[in-house]
């Protein structure tokens, strides 16, 4: 049987050493009426047959060519240096346990310490933790920090937040006892935090400094949900007065993988450090004065504080954080800026060309964006189907996600990164131009 190690003789010898005749003698504490004999599943397969089945399932998914992904909405196609998977596929990293025993875990601990520094630098905040599950839960943890810090029970969302992140915030709030209010008109003396996504879900830039100032004027915290690649060129939350910065790290070297595993990060001002959820790695020394790294400030955590912990998080996304660290170290400050700038320029070139297609328009022409932007295109589903037929993963139709916003009907958000080469942009524009012409011929331009 795969992955099992004992021979029948081993099992018999072990039973004999225990002085029992059969396995059932070891199961005497289980009431007989609760015993089952096996599992209603087909018998195991050879590795060859297993992988054939798994490959067949993988083959039923359609994989779009990297350079033809124009869909983002929280998960993006980026160039991933080969160094990333070369490091994360080292069994010393991926099969290690949580580094509770520091002497046997210095590799993981130092890598996390470097991750914490990288995230703190990137966001221009004082301190970052060892990672969280994803961007959405990181935002929920930040909101809970603000609720505890301020003793207030309302969190206000400014601008267009990723609808799934808003759902997750609501789900955490329903349990923890805070509610979510959308729109700045709700800001008041009972506001725990103003939450904003920069750039917004639609890709548009918010007045981050203005929002954190507004929050502080009302005694609330400013929580920024940021795109880590954008921080290669965009003013980081720490420069704009944010108290807590969170985000999704998928773009830092992780595969899309149908939505996970990715990695959440959280960083804050040092005054809030002891309210951070989850693990923190700190520097320490042994009796010979050698530097080492160790899980620290554990008095915040569930295994010490139990019901009084800042969060319940235990297992986080350490290996994904490692991937992000390798990515950021590979890029360095100039590489990261170049990735952000190239994405910016291609997106703007594409936006100009799409806006020129008859029947297409940019719905928010006065707003700044980086590398993701909304396009209004009547018959959006028709156009996306044409793109799909051409092997292109087109923009994300957002209308159905925002039933209360008629202005987003027929809007799709498109993104560009360094993987979308100029020829890919040309192909996209060509297919959409033809698609628009066919629609306009049929129904006339709207």
């Amino acid at each position: 049987m795969p992955y099992l190690v004992h021979s029948t003789e081993d099992r018999e010898a072990m039973l004999e050493a225990l002085g029992v005749a059969t396995m059932d003698d070891l199961l005497v504490d289980i009431p007989p009426h609760l015993r089952v004999d096996g599992i209603d599943l087909e018998p195991g397969l050879s590795e060859f047959e297993t992988m054939a089945r798994v490959r067949a399932l993988a083959g039923r998914n359609r994989v779009f060519e990297d350079r033809l992904w124009f869909r983002g909405g929280g998960v993006y196609q980026r160039f991933v240096p080969a160094a990333v998977s070369a490091v994360t596929s080292k069994p010393e990293f991926y099969t290690a346990y949580t580094p509770y025993q520091p002497e046997a875990s210095q590799g993981t601990l130092q890598a996390i310490f470097e991750f914490q520094t990288l995230i703190a630098e990137l966001t221009a905040m004082d301190v970052a933790n060892a990672s969280l599950y994803d961007g959405a839960t990181a935002l929920a943890e930040a909101a809970m920090m603000a609720v505890v810090e301020t003793g207030r029970r309302h969190v206000v969302v400014a601008g267009c937040l990723h609808p799934e992140y808003a759902d997750v915030l609501r789900c955490y709030g329903d349990g923890r006892g805070f509610d979510l209010r959308v729109g700045l008109e709700h800001v008041g003396s009972d506001t725990a935090a103003i939450v904003y996504q920069q750039p917004s879900f639609l890709g548009l830039l918010e007045d981050a400094a203005g929002l954190t100032e507004l929050a502080h004027r009302h005694g609330a915290l400013g929580i920024a949900c940021v795109d880590p690649i954008s921080l290669g060129m965009l003013a980081p939350p720490g420069e704009q007065g944010a108290d807590i910065a969170v985000g999704e790290g998928q773009q830092l070297g992780l595969a899309a993988s149908y939505g996970g595993p990715h990695v959440g990060f959280i960083a804050c001002r040092k005054e809030l450090m002891r309210r951070l959820p989850g693990r923190l790695v700190g520097e320490g020394h042994d009796d010979l004065g050698r530097r080492g790294f160790v899980l620290t400030l554990t008095a915040r955590e569930q295994h010490i504080r139990r019901a009084r912990a800042t969060s319940n998080i235990c297992t986080n996304h350490s290996l994904c954080a490692l991937a992000a660290s390798v990515y950021l170290t590979y890029m360095g400050p100039d590489g990261l800026r170049q990735v952000a700038e190239v994405s910016y320029q291609r997106a703007h070139a594409l936006a100009e060309r799409l806006a020129a297609i008859p029947g297409f328009e940019l719905p928010f022409p006065d707003r700044q964006f980086l590398n993701e932007f909304p396009v209004r295109m009547f018959h959006v589903e028709h156009h996306l189907a044409r793109l799909r037929a051409a092997g292109i993963l087109g923009g994300l139709p957002v209308g159905p996600m925002f039933p209360d916003r008629p202005d987003l009907e027929d809007v799709a958000i498109f993104c560009c990164t360094e993987v979308n080469d100029p020829a890919a942009l040309d192909l996209l524009v060509e297919v959409l131009t033809a698609s628009a012409a066919s629609v306009n011929t049929r129904s006339g331009a709207r």
Binding site: P2, L18, L34, T95, T108, D287, R290, N312, C314
Partner: protein, 501 residues
């Protein structure tokens, strides 16, 4: 052996990596007010230096690929390499979560099939694959139970957890707004049912239990406890940390549990990754099905789809559909093992734990009667007279090439040494480990000061954790606060300290 931080090795003159140029025409420029003023002080290293840096760090880790991890309550079993190959298939890794469902049929089918397979293992009606980890799963289950009671117009405010429970249990309950009520363990290490009776009331939303419990003992009176809990209208929650004992042996669903969580990174061999990512599916009985996180995966006439239209759902507990890459690994494992293999795995895990327990009789204290299930808790209190603690035994094992057992947990056993060998360790490994514990105990008696000085041959010795926590240094600073750094820092380019007071 130590390795400088990547930041300390950074060379400011190094050119950036070669990356694509834009190659497009546009006049657009990001306005100055949105531009970053100071670049982040990320390191600048060549690829060769990066690879060497991380290879050195890797060599400073213990891992299941090299060492035996007798880590109680963590189920550190071998991680099959085929699982990794499966998760990296372009048909899975290259899938955008917002692709149209008709282009992701294989992924949806995998999730649908995994859900059904796990339902068979634990005996529930439906499972959500969304939660990212065990603690996340606990919280998700409690949110569902909370929503169930609220839908019935009941405001139940308490959750009962045993004193032996993992710390995430009470923390998850509090995160859901519940008050935690602790129920005592009796002298035999099992829940004191009289105390449970006293703590139950119509204020109680749920009892959180694991079975086998954290001492590795089967809760013999589980059916009676379920009846008591249900009689008050409360729900019974199963913490799946110890499911590795039960596959094909018995099912939490049959014991009366209403919500059951599983750790795919324990029982189903997805790797721990140095602390995640894991995956924590939650199974529920019919009563709780309407409250499952959305979306669920449904199958209509062979076509798979995501069902977002679930009006009583608690909503989303994270973005997208879960740690899909971990689901692929677990599914691959389930296919390879089959019902017969999983059943044998649990039986072997129980056999290994009992065998190792037997080997340690007379070496460490064994405060509870056997047989045990897949793990057992010993105590190092017999070494107290020599001034030796459980921690010293743990460090002695590290010195001798084993990862340490879980120590000081559960809290109800003094000097606890919690050991879980799993089914993937050979008898030779178990014997060698037992011999090593014996050698450490002998050293403890003979020259305890030598044991207290261990480990000596690892990259660092015991770190002063109190000092580390008193004056926390949680990041490297560009201006070199770190006195031990030997390599010259690059010139300070960035002052990102945010002293807002």
């Amino acid at each position: 052996m130590t390795e400088p931080l990547s930041f300390e090795k950074s060379r400011s003159a190094l050119p950036p990596p070669r990356l694509p140029q834009a190659g497009v025409q546009t006049d657009a420029q990001l306005p100055e007010e949105h531009r970053r003023r100071r670049p982040p002080a990320l390191p600048r290293l060549s690829e060769a230096e990066i690879m060497r840096h991380y290879s050195r760090l890797a060599s400073m880790n213990y891992s299941i690929s090299e060492q035996f991890y007798p880590l109680g309550s963590c189920t550190m079993k071998y991680n099959p390499v085929a699982n990794e190959e499966a998760a990296r298939l372009p048909g899975f890794a290259g899938l955008h979560p917002y692709q149209d469902e008709e282009t992701a049929q294989g992924a949806l089918e995998l999730m649908w099939r995994l859900e059904r397979a796990l339902c068979s293992v634990v005996g529930v009606d439906r499972i959500t694959l969304q939660p990212a980890a065990g603690a996340h799963a606990e919280w998700t289950a409690l949110r569902m139970i909370q929503a169930y009671h609220r839908a019935r117009g009941e405001d139940r405010t308490e959750v009962i957890v045993p004193d032996a429970a993992h710390g995430t249990n009470p923390a998850s309950a509090v995160l859901c707004g519940f008050k935690v009520v602790e129920v005592r363990s009796g002298a035999d290490g099992r829940v004191d049912t009289a105390d449970l009776e006293a703590k139950l009331s119509n204020r109680v939303a749920a009892l959180m239990l694991t079975n086998p419990n954290t001492l590795g003992l089967f809760e013999r009176e589980i059916a009676e406890m379920a009846e008591m809990v249900h009689a008050t209208g409360a729900k019974l929650y199963y913490d799946g940390a110890n499911l590795n004992a039960l596959m094909g042996v018995c099912r939490p669903g049959d014991m009366g549990f209403d919500a059951v969580h599983l750790n795919l990174h324990k029982t189903f061999t997805t790797p721990h990754g140095g602390g995640g990512p894991g995956a924590g599916p939650v199974g529920v009985k019919t009563d709780l099905v309407p409250f499952l996180p959305r979306p669920t995966v449904e199958c209509d006439d062979g076509a798979f789809r995501l069902d977002h239209d679930r009006p009583q759902s608690i909503g989303r507990v994270r973005s997208f559909y879960g740690n899909f890459g971990m689901l692929v690994r677990a599914f691959t494992y389930v296919l390879a093992m089959g019902g017969d293999g999983l059943t044998q795995a649990s039986r072997d895990a129980i056999l290994a734990a009992n065998y190792l327990r037997h080997r340690l009789e007379g070496v460490l204290d064994l405060p509870h009667e056997g047989p045990c299930m897949h793990e057992f808790v010993a105590s190092a209190r017999n070494l107290g007279p020599h001034g030796i603690k459980a921690l010293d035994v743990a460090k002695g094992l590290l010195e001798r090439g084993y990862y340490a057992p879980t120590v000081y947990f559960p809290l109800i056993v003094p000097e606890a040494v919690m050991i879980e060998p799993t089914e993937t360790e050979s008898r030779a490994t178990l014997d060698a480990f037992a011999d090593t514990v014996q050698a450490i105990v002998e050293l403890a008696r003979r020259s305890p000061e030598d044991l207290r000085a261990e480990p000596r041959s690892l990259p660092v010795g015991r770190l002063d954790e109190v000092a580390a926590a008193r004056n926390p240094v949680l990041r490297w600073r560009p201006n070199g606060r770190d006195a031990t750094a030997s390599s010259p820092h690059e010139p300070v380019r960035s002052d990102t300290v945010n002293d807002r007071g």
